[in-house]
């Protein structure tokens, strides 16, 4: 029952936000989106070019959603279009969670399968918690303030200070050029302040290729899910590509770093699933400040003056330019 309430409440709130954007027929816009626009994952039994195929499918879906919104609302701004897309996606997730739970419940009742019912009963608290987070996220995206997942993008922004003048290096992804303690600093992040994650892997690949591998270090920063015993805002660092995509962006980062033999560092800011998709809390923000300090220290201690360093701030850049 609670899940049905969450779905209906999410729908009501989304309609309200879409009405505030002066959209005609927001209900139809959501109803026509939910259940559609699924993506069938590529065949993994044949691993050759699976990443290329996955990337193609992701781009195709992304473009289809964009086209759907633009067809329904032709004169919408880029930021509002991105906000509409996120609201549609959140409603879709809430409906899906509800449907899956009802599916297992109905199956359990139909075949008198008490094992299935018990599994559902034992997991329902976690499922409700997840659904609640998605319902609350509708408000967060409606408000427009940065969300927890934007931690990486905010670290990138902090390194820039008041630097402006970015160039769009990949779709919805921007590159800033600045300097830090005698080092040339390239900062990549999604194009804000709309709710988008951009294509940071592709952007990094293009940048390093254009610089013909003359890069001393690549530092990736992203939000990471914490374990229950960990505190929100804890910062950890290591090596590798800090990015939680389905594969194409992460592998692009790994490939270009290994092709050019450039060390690839990772800095993560820990938070719960709820915090990741809702307005950034103070604890997470404090973690962002610490992460920015770690990135600065890494640059100072592991590179020399005159070197070129790339920092990639991964995550949703809602409310962050």
């Amino acid at each position: 029952m609670e899940l049905i309430e969450f779905e209906e409440e999410g729908r009501r709130k989304s309609i309200k936000y879409l009405k505030d954007m002066n959209l005609p027929n927001p209900k139809t816009l959501i109803d026509d989106y939910v259940d559609n626009f699924f993506m069938i994952f590529p065949v993994e039994r044949e691993p050759i070019d699976v990443i290329k195929r996955l990337k193609h499918l992701l781009r195709t879906r992304d473009e289809a959603v964009k086209r759907y919104v633009l067809d329904k609302v032709p004169n919408v701004s880029e930021i509002d279009r991105q906000r509409i897309e996120v609201l549609l996606e959140l409603n879709s997730v809430l409906t899906y969670i509800n449907k899956v739970v009802k599916h297992y419940y109905n199956l359990g009742v139909k075949f008198n399968d008490w094992i299935m019912m018990m599994q559902l009963a034992l997991q329902i608290n976690q499922i409700v918690r997840l659904a609640k987070a998605y319902r609350d996220a509708i408000d967060s995206f409606g408000v427009g303030a940065p969300i927890g997942d934007g931690a990486g993008a905010l670290v990138a922004r902090m390194l820039l200070g008041n630097v402006s003048g970015a160039s769009e290096i990949a779709p919805e992804t921007v590159l800033y050029e600045t300097s830090f303690e005698g080092r040339k600093l390239y900062v990549i992040k999604a194009k804000g302040p709309g709710p988008t994650v951009g294509w940071p892997g592709e952007a990094l690949e293009k940048l390093v290729d254009s610089l013909e591998c003359r890069i001393s270090r690549i530092i990736t920063v992203d939000a990471a899910l914490k374990l229950e015993s960990e505190k929100s805002g804890e910062v950890a660092y290591g090596v590798g590509a800090a990015i939680g995509d389905l594969g194409p962006e992460k592998i692009a980062m790994e490939r270009i770093a290994s092709k050019c033999s450039v060390p690839l560092d990772a800095v993560v800011i820990k938070m719960s699933n709820e915090e990741a998709i809702n307005t950034m809390t103070k604890q997470v923000y404090e973690g962002v400040v610490r992460a920015a300090d770690i990135v600065k220290n890494t640059i100072l201690s592991k590179t020399r003056e005159g070197d070129a360093v790339v920092v990639v701030g991964v995550g949703n850049t809602l409310g962050i330019e």
């Binding site: 408000v143 427009g144 804000g192 015993s229």
Partner: protein, 97 residues
Amino acid sequence: MLLELDPLYILLIAIIVFLSSYLLISYLRESSTQKKEEKGKIVTVKKCLSCNYVLNKPYDKGEYVGRVGEKCPKCGGEMMVTAIYLETPPQPQEAIS
């Protein structure tokens, strides 16, 4: 008057009073818990690009990190939004850390 009532009626009234107060207390407790969950305010931090003066204020819709525009109340320089976050009261620690 009370003494003239049947003891059964008195018992019935007592049960009704008990049940109503129980329901009222449960409702009040639930609504106060919900209020606690909702509590929290979004804060915008602005910093002057000239004199580094920092201003904390409640978040207004449309503000974003990196936005420049307002004048500094101290020196008249430009102020930039450097952070936006949600301030929540400390939550009780339930997990073993």
